[in-house]
Amino acid sequence: MTACPMHAMAATRRWAVLAFLMTATVGAATWGATPEETIAGGARRVVKLYGAGGVRGLEAYQTGILVSPQGHIVTVLSTVLDSDGIDCVLDDGRRYPATLLGADPRRELAVLSIAGEELPFYELPPSDPPPAGEAGKPAAGVSVGTRVFALSNLFGVAVGDERVSAQHGVVAAIVPLEARRGAHEAPYRGDVYILDCTTSNPGSAGGALVDWRGRLVGMLGKELRATATGVWLNYALPIDEVARGYRNVLGAGSELSPPTPDPDGLPYDVALLGIVLVPDLLDKTPPFVESIRDGSSAARAGLRADDLLVAVNGRSVASRAAVQQALAGLADGDPVRVAVIRDGSIVECDLGPKPQAGRKP
């Protein structure tokens, strides 16, 4: 950014062309011709969510996106949703209790439902099963340089009928997510949109990323640091992935009961495989197997009570939480191999493909 006149002139020209492009893009907007109208239209479909938290730096609020006329909301799976009473406040101030329909742990996406009427919503793109190797590809029309608005309940600034906050930016990169929060790696490994505006703020997670034509192109991710550099990432999950996650949860929910945790509080993925681990009593409870469900893939693979899990797909797991993390990082259908210590020696077991979330083993 040296202020050299030569650069300045070139840049000025670029700026001018940019302005022209902006005008051209906005001309085709869905709701209107101005950014103001685009934002207003988008914000109507974005909700403020309130749940658990408020202690130890964990915020009790985040953002969600209305995606069906029946009141389905997609948002980020987080501790905010660990509450019996999730409150959802619409752009017009209407307030509803929200029910957790289910979650896609790999995409860290949750689906909520409210009993509202005449709800504005974004239609998600059809999500045919993605061809092999195509998972995580960006939605049509989004590329590096696409101008976007991020609409979110950042810092919980907006309350009641106040509109969520709007930030402007561009999609700066489309790259696979390699990020962590504290010691936990993010399970999602597919492509995300890296943004040049600060969206890694409290409450932003679950917000809408819309382009200048007012189309929903992604969902803002949670506060994560890049694994390699430790910088806070401003990123969004592409809309196609959002749609897949949504239908994952819904598809499962429509065939079976919603995937609720087991009574002893076991995480979804572990339970899906038919493994019951010892109760989680310590910060790093060793992942001893308490019991194995009959007929489950774990039973078929020969896992037994009192086995100690030490690795999942080659990744060492020192605690119950690590087991869950490792399993959550796998896509539905990915092969699952575990190593256990049994009677002093290491035994490997092949559990077959990871079952789809929501299906009981």
Binding site: T12, A16, V17, I39, A158, H168
Partner: protein, 625 residues
Amino acid sequence: MTEIVRIAAWGVVWAITLLPTNDIPAAEIPPAVRAAEQARIEAIARGARAAVAIFAGEAGGGSGVLVSADGYALTNFHVVQPAGVAMKCGLSDGKLYDAVLVGLDPTGDVALVKLVGRDDFPFAELADSDLVEVGDFCFAAGNPFLLATDLRPSISAGIVSGTRRYQFPAGTILEYADCLQVDAAINPGNSGGGLFDAEGRVIGVNGRASFEKRGRVNVGVGYAISSNQLRQFLGCLKGGRLVDHATLGATVATADDGRVVVSDILESSDAYRRGLRYDDEVVALAGRPVRTVNALKNILGTLPAGWRVPLAYRRSGRRREVLVRLAGLHTSGELAKIVSGGAEAEGPEKPPGGPGDDGEGKRPGRPGDPAPHGGGKQPEVVLPPPLAGLYEPRNGFTNFHFNVVERDRVARSVAARHPFPAGDAPWVVSGRLEKGQPFRIELSDQRATIDLPTGTSSIDATGELDATPAPPGSGGLLAALVLWRRLLREGPGALGRTTYWGTVPHWDSDPHSGAPGGAGDVTAAPGTPGGARLVDVLDTAAASVEGRFLVADDGFVLGIDLWPTPDADPCEVRFSPGEGLPTAMEVRHGDEVFGRFRIERIDVEPPAASGTDPDADTPADGGTT
């Protein structure tokens, strides 16, 4: 050229990812795009010229924005607080100017300073922030991280992220109500600087940002005090006052059905006297709808203490509209303590409430008053030579010098507008009431008398005014007219302790009766409540009687509010302007209209007898002019 470079700098940030090449020939750019680009360059240049870099020595510094050619600049209270009375200010011309503190609004985190040395300072116009929409382009011009060592401001651009935001105060001060939220980078040092729209007009003053774990640097969430709030306080600030924010005297809560209802109310509040009661639903305040508790806080937080604004409320399905006077959030002692850093122990303070107290700091110190809070112990202020004579400490004021300046300005315009001889001859005002009955009012230096169909009343006009309201039911019409005559004849020096109060909203048509005031529709000031315009107010005190004159831009005295005793409803007199003299007068007290007077003539008669002037009009105290 420097501005172009600066624009280019952030143009690159936005544009570089979009375009694969630098090599777009200039000829390919459509003229409309060039014109739009040029307009933006000029807007940013205008904003940059109005930007002020404020240096408070070792205490740090910040930013400001010039809003008049004679050097008035707005900034944050928290920027000037460590600087004290005098500071150095840099402009984009690379020059350093001396500036003096003029007025403070600690609750709203606003300060007004005046730069000296020129009468042609570049400045930016205050826009109507109610018209700002989420998504609008905006930019900040300021001094982030005190980078402006060459005094040229840094520009950061973005969009308006939210409007009408509410940011909780720290204690009772630094409350950001109805503020603008932006994603333009607002960093430490941007405080006090202007937030500009696409035309380079001021839509706000940046002052706060949400910071989180990443430390005190921008995360795309800054807040600016709206230009409409600034406009509402500007008059009070120009008067050198220590200005307070308003309270309704009632608290509200959200009912189960979502209505905003009164949950508690002070019986001493004007809202109570106007009929507001527990459980009433508040529907609108100052011309804006109230649908949430936050909305009410947003509206109240932008209003100066002492303003009178329309309030709409609903009870049993019936909507009522009244005008309410708003009391102050603080006592003048509390405000003084905040400004002096809150270090001193205070004696007992009278709680705020009632009209006698609602405009904190509006009265100059009285001989019997205790020493100024903090003022008595402050070190002697040494001003640099260019600021000599521009600072006068006074209890309840930030800088009394500027109060004298404003008071004299208004006094001159009043004298020029009202062609009354200065002699001591009595005035006889005569005409007819609404139903045609005649009235006659005689005002002399000794007595004031009114003849009405219902009888005759009279008061002693010498010395301090009688606190007994006369005629009965008027709330003190005769005392008000005595003060009116003194003001028109001899100026504010004849009134006793007279100060400039600031500006208040005035409706040319009475908003609660619809009765025409006679002046016709005047263009309302942007953002003022309910289509009112802002008019100057002179505040005067004589014994227990307190009066406020409303003065139009052209010097016409639009009205008088007179309190014979504090904590009671005043007598309200409103004049309809004519050629030189008022043509009509409406008198109200409380919720009642006392009378509407059609003025047919005002005769100035020679003295009846060899009356010796009892020298009654000598100011009791410090009526310097």
